[in-house]
Symmetry: C2
Subunit: 378 residues, 2 copies
């Protein structure tokens, strides 16, 4: 038994394309949902988090694009509830097992009548889940749909997502939904979800701005028993694939940047240093200019609470060693050539003090980003 | 008795303008020095911090522009020491009372012979301290010199600074030196310095990138006894003046942005929220586009560890209320007009939960910033 989907149109997007997606699971499923840590949150996030915390299982998802259902006062939560109840009534399922997600413009109330009608249309015409189509329906400013599928023996993990790296003029939302046929108990599922999320969706950045609507779900369809490591590997693979697609789609992005901090004393240090480099405007503009500017990289590394040994660390771009306590001028030209020729730029920092590492993904900063985000009018 | 200055040229700047400044104080002075918190630090910073921590008083400053004396290995600290000793020998003062500061390109060793010769030239031709000239000599990419002077009865506070908001292609350094004729004991001086620095130089940002060389000195010439509150007020005034000049001079900046978070429950919360808004790329590009985009402001406010009550907070641009749990669409046009017409844009956030407030200064983000910082070649 596969998940089913239905599509509707409430006229929320200026493109006038379908903007309502309903996903119906074969039965009540164990799942794990992670939501934005932003304290300013969409009514849909508030509602879904509350319901899922209470219930713990899920049967259906209702997702709308084109409107974030956010910044409009307490009615936003009421509207999310109405959307869940509408779908539940039509699908004859428990409303407490229906979760609601939104993405789009902040500050405009949902035209709830049109939304409820579109949900009705969607529920009446269910078909097998089509990952590409699902991604398209929930997309706002994505340039291409984001989905992936991994099969390992009997194990299946697949998912669809949206997010174009915060280019939505208000701010981009990342939505990602992964499904696996593996049977996973609640605790195991939550732990796996958190760990994978940390290393994938929580390790990407385009402009460091956290949305009010980000949501990531991992749903266990509970069909086959599988070795946990095998499941983890497949879930990580699909998650990383979707997460990097989001970064690649950052408007104005011409390069993906992979920041690897390795051999740190502790994981938190590796993570903070990687994040600091990945969010540095000076590093991102240097990559945009194909400039192997190690000085900006080390300045970013040095600006967290964690000390660094400036005489011992090593900084590479690609596999070109640029700094190891002293500068390697001859490597600069080779590094520049590497930056011209590759679409993914690896910045590798070796702290040489331990065994922990972290990787953060970002993209370069261009005039296109500034133009897009300064030309939007409220 | 006034401070004296001498100027020299070591050929460190591509403009081939004077790049060595020596300041000689009338006697050993109480002082307070604050340095960058970046763990990757200039040899001059390492040296000066070590010497001052040991000694606690200062008699002379040696400042070079055009070279950060950073990222070149341990010799950088030796070079700083040589510069201090050269000046001390020529001025017949204690070398442990000579502090060294550098600003400029990272990764190039100082041509120490030329530097020492230029220090000699400077020491031989001392004249009364000219704030404007001093600022010019230590400047790298500033578009104009930064200095100010406050007089209140017998009390005098004056200073000079450099810094063009992190536009130096490696990264900008902020140097600021304040002098007062007020007699201040060491403890009082340190506390005053820290408090003023927190609310001024530590509350400005252009691109959130922390330099390897930032230094701020407050020197007490110890001539007149003055009421501490009076001194604090004057020191704050000069510091704020210099700090905002630095933000104004951010390359590509067309607007100064003043982010005020008020009525927070605690000071740290006000500060973190103000800083988050001031460092948000989405807010800075919105200001660049003269777009009164409150949605981006609240998303930034919500993305710190501190919770916010999205139904109770109020967001103003200028004195136009845009959001107070619901949107005020009619205020949008007036706010946009305000943004077109004013060179300083005030974003005011009223949390309505306490009595603490904080102000952060930044500037808008433009294509010019991206262009400057991506066109530099290492």
């Amino acid at each position: 038994m596969e998940p089913l989907m239905g599509v509707g149109k409430a006229g929320l997007k200026s493109s006038n394309k379908p903007d309502i997606l309903v996903v119906l699971l074969p039965q009540s499923c164990n799942a794990s949902f992670l939501f934005t840590t932003n304290h300013f949150r969409s009514g849909s996030v508030i509602y879904s988090e509350k319901v899922f915390r209470k219930r713990g299982t899920v049967r259906a998802l209702v997702i709308n694009s084109g409107n974030a259902n956010c910044g409009v006062g307490p009615e936003a939560v009421l509207h999310a509830e109405m959307m869940a109840e509408k779908a539940a009534a039509l699908l004859d399922i428990d409303p407490e097992e229906v979760l609601v997600f939104s993405t789009g413009v902040i500050g405009k109330p949902l035209p709830i009548d049109r939304v409820l009608q579109a949900i009705e249309d969607a529920c009446k015409l269910l078909e097998p889940l089509d990952l590409k189509r699902a991604s398209e329906v929930i997309s706002t400013t994505d340039r291409y749909p984001k989905y992936d599928f991994v099969k390992d023996g009997k194990l299946e993990v697949y998912g669809f997502a949206k997010g174009a790296g915060m280019i939505h003029p208000q701010m981009g939302t990342m939505l990602a939904f992964l499904f696996t046929n593996a049977l996973l108990e609640e605790d195991v599922l939550h732990e796996l979800h958190r760990e994978v999320c940390d290393r994938t969706f929580n390790s990407i950045t385009v402009d460091g701005c956290t949305s009010t609507n980000d949501s990531f779900g991992l749903i266990s369809l509970g069909v086959v028993r599988e070795d946990l490591q095998k499941v983890r590997k497949a879930v990580e693979e699909v998650s990383l694939s979707l997460a990097t697609k989001i970064v690649e789609d950052g408007e104005g992005a011409t390069k993906v940047i992979k920041v690897v901090v390795k051999n740190a004393s502790i994981e938190l240090k590796a993570r903070m240093l990687a994040e600091k480099v990945a969010t540095s405007l000076l590093v991102k503009t240097a990559v945009h200019g194909r400039d192997p500017n190690w000085g900006r990289i080390v300045a970013a590394l040095g600006s967290t609470p964690f000390p660094i040994d400036q005489n011992s660390i090593r900084v590479y771009i690609g596999n070109h060693l640029l700094y190891d306590g002293k500068v390697h001028s001859k490597a600069v030209e080779a590094a520049r050539k590497y930056m011209e020729e590759n679409s993914v730029i690896e910045i590798i920092v070796d702290l040489r003090e331990g065994k922990s590492s972290w990787t953060y993904y970002t993209c370069d900063l261009s005039c296109e980003y500034v133009r897009i985000n300064s030309e939007y009018t409220t």
